[in-house]
């Protein structure tokens, strides 16, 4: 007969109506599935009792997929057909993958998302991920004895829209109903029951195999909000292995290792690292293919010394995240460690020292994300009386639009919480301008050329007015699913244009990280560039206005010498506009302004005279 689980009071399901829900941590290196049974969250193991499923898919001879450990073991024999770390390719184009040449894959560029050529044909990352999800789904259905109602799948907090959509598509392909995508740090916080507190600010320190993520979550009135994220997409446990490996090679004086020997030493390095989480020293012994025997004792002190800078490197993004959130270490109410690499003792002590408090470590750091996802899934299918968590996301990069001179005006700042709506007013640049082009951009830099273009559209039918008189309100709206829509509306006439931005593929963590990094390192250049562009725009506007005035009544109001002076000042400004010196442009513009001061005053008098001519005094006064 069917096996039963204990339900919450009053929530017992009817026969055949069990709401089976799972949480899936679809990781870069390993994936897990967890569920809540009889009120407690557990990771589900396979027949061999293994919880971690290596996120590796290999297409075997007949083209069928093999997933997990078996695939991983054949990785070096069959590199083209064995896909590892497919998560890095989700929702990415070929040009987003910077180290494409360093991977063994035969990439096929395709609109939207790259493809991988395997012996089973051309596969998209979505299809490969779907194989991993199918395996986890099979494991869950065997363990729960029935069909699944739905799953919560976790994604990195700064996965963009395209990467999230790709994850959802993979789930659909695997026959998994996605209840919700959940940010990994939020899942970790839920697993620790931090949501049971009424409020607090928490830091999630996630050091995995190849990536480091830091997230700051704020809980208020039962609502979790990701207030800041940062990280290093090229820093993880593998780097620690690499340090031990290099130390062994150096100490033993063995150079020029064969690929097999290198793999052997690297795996021994990893074992040594794991041993040092408990012991104070460990021995690394191996016989290389050349017959050379390697035999070294690695003490925990040496290991700490070899890798101290790697830990320091995690603290930079941590500081930045705190700064983005406008918080100091004292504001943090709890620190959660996620990822197998946080088992290392010096990682724990460095985190404890930085935050001046002991981090939460009593759950298995490999499992904590999956457990949190399972708890959220259990809630969403209605197996728990809901004190409903409403989970909010943030915008990873600022959204803005292009203004004159190729500058970016930020409309929604980075780390704004979703959903969000912001409006800003813009105006026309030229007299009689009847259309305006709206160029939507994403990024932290000052110039459009350094940011990512998301969409362009035109607002037409603006009534002709003098430059600067039109009021065009541009509204950016990002909904709870992270979809952006931008509308522009001329306030007087009500003409309106709207666009929905659905990036076919967006930015990956690497690129977001790089763009953020660039915005810090180029802050000074950017300010100079902005000054130059702004002065150019002002100078151009001045030239246009002066020329228009000269054309209208310059011949009437100016003597020849005055006219020559103005022409000369205009010419100087024109020359300076082509240069790179914003102070010179400013000077030239100022001198043109001085040269035209008399002219402007006379024009004013004339227009007043014109306005007053033939009017009765009382008509004007009224």
């Amino acid at each position: 007969m069917a096996l039963l689980q204990i339900a919450e009071p009053g929530l017992c399901a009817d026969p055949h109506q069990h709401r089976l829900a799972i949480g899936i941590d679809l990781g870069t290196t390993n994936s897990l599935v967890a569920t809540v049974r009889s009120g407690s969250a557990d990771v589900l193991e396979d027949e061999a009792g293994r919880a971690l499923l290596p996120s590796v898919v290999r297409y075997v001879q007949d083209g069928s997929p093999e997933v997990g450990l078996d695939a991983q073991l054949r990785q070096s024999d069959d590199p083209h057909n064995t896909i590892v770390s497919v998560k890095r390719f989700m929702g990415r184009g070929l040009k987003d993958v910077q180290d494409a040449a360093a991977t063994p894959y035969r990439f096929v560029d395709a609109p939207g998302m790259l493809r991988l050529e395997t012996r089973a044909g051309v596969k998209s990352p979505v299809e490969v991920s779907a194989e991993i999800l199918k395996t986890l789904r099979g494991r869950a259905e065997a363990a729960l004895g029935g069909e699944l109602t739905g799953a919560v799948i976790t994604v990195p907090a700064y996965f963009d829209d395209a990467q999230r959509q790709a994850t959802k598509d993979a789930a659909r392909l695997a026959g998994v109903n996605v209840l919700r995508l959940l940010n990994e740090p939020t899942a970790a916080a839920i697993a620790y029951g931090l949501d049971n507190a009424s409020q607090g600010t928490f830091c999630i320190y996630d050091l995995g195999g190849g990536t480091f993520d830091i997230s700051i979550l704020r809980l208020s009135q039962g609502i979790f909000e990701v207030v800041a994220t940062n990280g290093d997409s090229k820093l993880g446990g593998d780097d620690f292995d690499e340090r031990i490996y290099r130390w062994v090679v150096e100490q033993s004086g063995v150079g020029d290792l064969s690929a097999g020997d290198a793999r052997l030493l690297l795996s021994l390095a990893r074992k040594a690292k794991e041993a040092l989480t408990e012991k104070d020293e460990t021995r690394i012994t191996a016989t290389l293919s050349s017959g050379t025997v390697v035999d070294r004792v690695l003490t925990v002190d040496t290991f700490f010394m070899l890798t101290a800078d790697l830990i320091t490197r995690t603290l930079g993004p941590t500081r930045k995240a705190l700064r983005d959130a406008g918080l100091s270490v004292d504001d943090i109410d709890g620190v959660v460690l996620v990822g197998g690499s946080t088992r290392m003792r010096h990682v724990r002590s460095a985190v404890a020292k930085y935050f001046q408090r002991e981090p939460l470590t009593n759950l298995d750091p490999d499992q904590v994300v999956a457990l949190g996802a399972a708890m959220q899934a259990n809630l969403l299918v209605g197996n728990r009386k809901s004190d409903d968590w409403l989970l909010l996301d943030v915008i990873p990069l600022s959204l803005g639009l292009e203004t004159m001179g190729g500058l970016v005006e930020k409309v929604i700042p980075r780390n704004a919480t979703l959903p969000v709506t912001r409006a800003q007013d813009f105006t026309t640049f030229k007299d009689g301008q009847t259309a305006m082009s709206v160029h939507v951009l994403q990024g932290e830099r000052e110039l459009t050329s350094d940011c990512r273009s998301l969409a362009r559209f035109e607002l037409r039918g603006i009534p002709p007015m003098v430059a600067g008189a039109a009021r065009i309100r541009v509204t950016f709206q990002v909904d709870a699913d992270g979809l952006l829509s931008v509308s522009a509306r001329e306030q007087a006439s009500g003409v309106e244009a709207t666009i929905e931005v659905k990036p076919s593929y967006g930015l990956g963590d690497d690129e977001i990280a790089r763009m953020l990094q660039d915005s810090f390192t180029h802050a000074n250049d950017d300010m100079a560039a902005r000054n130059l562009r702004e002065q150019r725009v002002d100078g151009l506007r001045l030239l246009e206005a002066t020329q228009a005035a000269l054309d209208m009544d310059g011949w009437q109001l100016l003597s020849d010498t005055e006219r020559v002076t103005i022409d000369r000042a205009m010419e100087t400004l024109r020359v300076m506009l082509d240069g790179q010196d914003h102070t010179a442009i400013k000077r030239a513009a100022d001198s043109l302004n001085r040269a035209t001061a008399q002219f402007a005053a006379r024009r004013m008098d004339v227009s007043i005279q014109r306005a007053l001519a033939g009017q009765r005094l009382d008509a004007i006064e009224a």
Partner: protein, 107 residues
Amino acid sequence: MAITLSESAADRIQKFLSQRGKGIGLRLGVRTSGCSGMAYTLEFVDETLPDDLSFESCGVTVLIDPKSLTFLDGTELDFVREGLNEGFKFNNPNVKNTCGCGESFNV
């Protein structure tokens, strides 16, 4: 008239109760539904009801309403593992037949 728990069931229930952090015991019951007449219910208990009958087995409080007890008298609740699946099983001497899946029964 009695309901008992197997040792493994009692262990599990105690573990689940402590992880849940609240609750005074376990409620067993029967309700009319399902493809073959009646179905079991199994819930945590936060508060007792006036008519509840209470049993103590291996240190766990088991509550049951009098009507359900007539269908469950003599039942032993067990916790078993079947392949990857694990969960509670009612060994109920009153059952005459069950539906194919075993989720509902009649007496």
